[in-house]
Amino acid sequence: MRDYITSYLNSSGTPGEAGNIFWITVYILLIFAGVAAGVICMNWLERKIMAHMQVRLGPMRVGPHGLLQPFADALKLLLKEDLMPEQADSVVYHLAPLLVVVVAFTVFIVVPFGPSHAVTDMNIGLLFMLGVSSMAVLGIVMAGWASNSHYPLLGALRSSAQMVSYEVAMGMAVLTAVLMTSLHGGGIYGVGGAQESGTGTLSMIGIVQAQAGQHVWFIFKFFPLGLVSFVIFAIAMVAETNRAPFDLPEAESELTAGFHTEYSGFRWSLFFLAEYAAMIAVSSIAVTLWLGGWLRPFPNWHGPQVAIPGFWQAGSSNGVVDLILAMAPVVAFVGLGGLCFLGAWRMAKNPLFRIQMLGLAAFGALLALVGLICVVPAVRDRVQDIFWFVAKVAVSMYLYIWYRSTFPRYRFDQLMKVGWKVLLPIAIGVLLATATLGVVIQAVMAA
């Protein structure tokens, strides 16, 4: 038993490949917990960041700087009465939020947090991800229809039309990146670096490895083609997740709350959870396809070799740059902990604030402790990839919040116009241009 568990630690594949049920379970649980924690963080961060953009403070009461606000909200939602409209179709009504949540979490099975940090690596990973996330539409349509009410129905029709339409542009942008995996050569235009051959792949891990092999993130590949396809995907993914400025299905001022108007309490919170999980999921697709997945910035730049006994071994890929960047998680966590200490120190010196101050300091200490744990070589090496991946996803999540506080909302016909008449033609053009350029450059290089 013990051997069965430890045997995986030395393998370099994903638990799914190794067929190790124990580690599959562990990874699924880790991802479930991680995504749920991510949703909680997003909840708090979105409020705080938006509040500061809008000259207000945001939650400040529950816990220091409102840190416990998401938990208070979750508690409130759980305790709320679970209402259902009398005329609603009860089976479908109850099934819809479950379906949405299951879909949102299933997607994470193939998300590669590192070369071996994924539940499994499918040959059709990307197809699986797009397919499963397209099933979220079903849940929304079901919710809207089952509520038996006009506003949810309108919201559901809107969102299904919107999601199906943007899937097309999204697919074209994704194809561009997939096409890039099949190209040979390194560097932005595939002319420099090692002429490593690549075959096209839909596997999420394979896509990142192709970026590593070609020595370029696909956002920079064939500049500006990679960038354009990334931008198209970035726009489509906002529409796909029904977020501002494409949040028509839940346009508060028009349709009250869209498809989940009639839901309350726990079931509503499931929709909320699914929405944020889906945001994280599409961001991970973007990161995997264009931003080099788990690769750190400049992964081929190692610098002079150094060796620290018992901590850092010298090697061809263990240079000083590697050492410095390996410390990034430590710096990030200790820095966050330091910010918490600063906040605690700046808090009003009043006995009433003592608990809050101690709480914030304790939270800072916890973060710093996590940072220090990341120094341990065994942890450090395993956490590296996850850290860079999560950091890139976090940037994308910040963009979501930024959009939401900046842009007005599109009207439905305009949204469709943008999707079909602007994004789709550009995406197809970029796809064709990428294919042409790839073929031409390979022919030239071969000659």
């Binding site: 179709d89 040959n123 397209s134 079903l138 299904s160 039309a161 199906v164 075959t199």
Partner: protein, 169 residues
């Protein structure tokens, strides 16, 4: 990833598929039928995975579940379900229909019993790892003409659907 091709999974998925199929033709409410059909489609996608056809399974989920069924649900919502629910579920010739279908079923059974030798037990182990690439080679090689015709068909269908569903012609 190796598909877990155990009998247990086969019977589970086959059971789900048949259950979905039965529900499709018996439910009074079309939305319930559509959901049952989705269950069948997903179960079939699982079976395709067991048959080393991951690409078709992916296409099944994206196109069928994410596309065609959403279209179905969309249309069911546009047309009024309320009245359809009150009407009789089956038409008058349902007895004849069932009898005819069962006769067809007997035909199948006899064919399978008689022609068992035609289905060899051997299973060619297909290269699952390169399934997508292999299919691509077929699609853009041997079947290129069919592929282009299919895309033309889709275009025609799209135009047809738009013309059909347009308000006032």
């Amino acid at each position: 990833m190796t598909p877990v091709a155990t009998p247990f999974f086969f019977y589970l998925l086959a059971g789900l598929a048949l259950l979905g199929g039965v529900l499709v033709i018996t439910r009074r409410n079309p939305v319930h039928s559509a959901l049952a059909l989705i269950l069948t489609l997903l179960a079939l996608a699982g079976i395709y995975l067991m048959l080393y056809a991951p690409f078709v399974a992916g296409v099944q989920i994206i196109l069928y579940v994410g596309g065609i069924m959403v279209l179905f649900l969309f249309v069911i919502m546009l047309v009024d379900v309320g009245r359809a629910e009150k009407e009789a579920r089956f038409n008058k010739q349902w007895v004849v229909g069932v009898v005819a279908s069962l006769a067809l079923g007997m035909l199948f059974v006899s064919a399978y019993v008689k022609g068992k030798a035609l289905f060899p037990e051997r299973l060619a182990r297909l290269a699952e790892e390169s399934n997508t690439q292999e299919i691509a080679k077929f699609l853009y090689g041997d079947y290129l003409l069919a592929f282009e015709v299919a895309s033309l068909l889709l275009l025609v269908a799209m135009i047809g659907a738009v013309v059909m569903a347009k308000k006032r012609v």
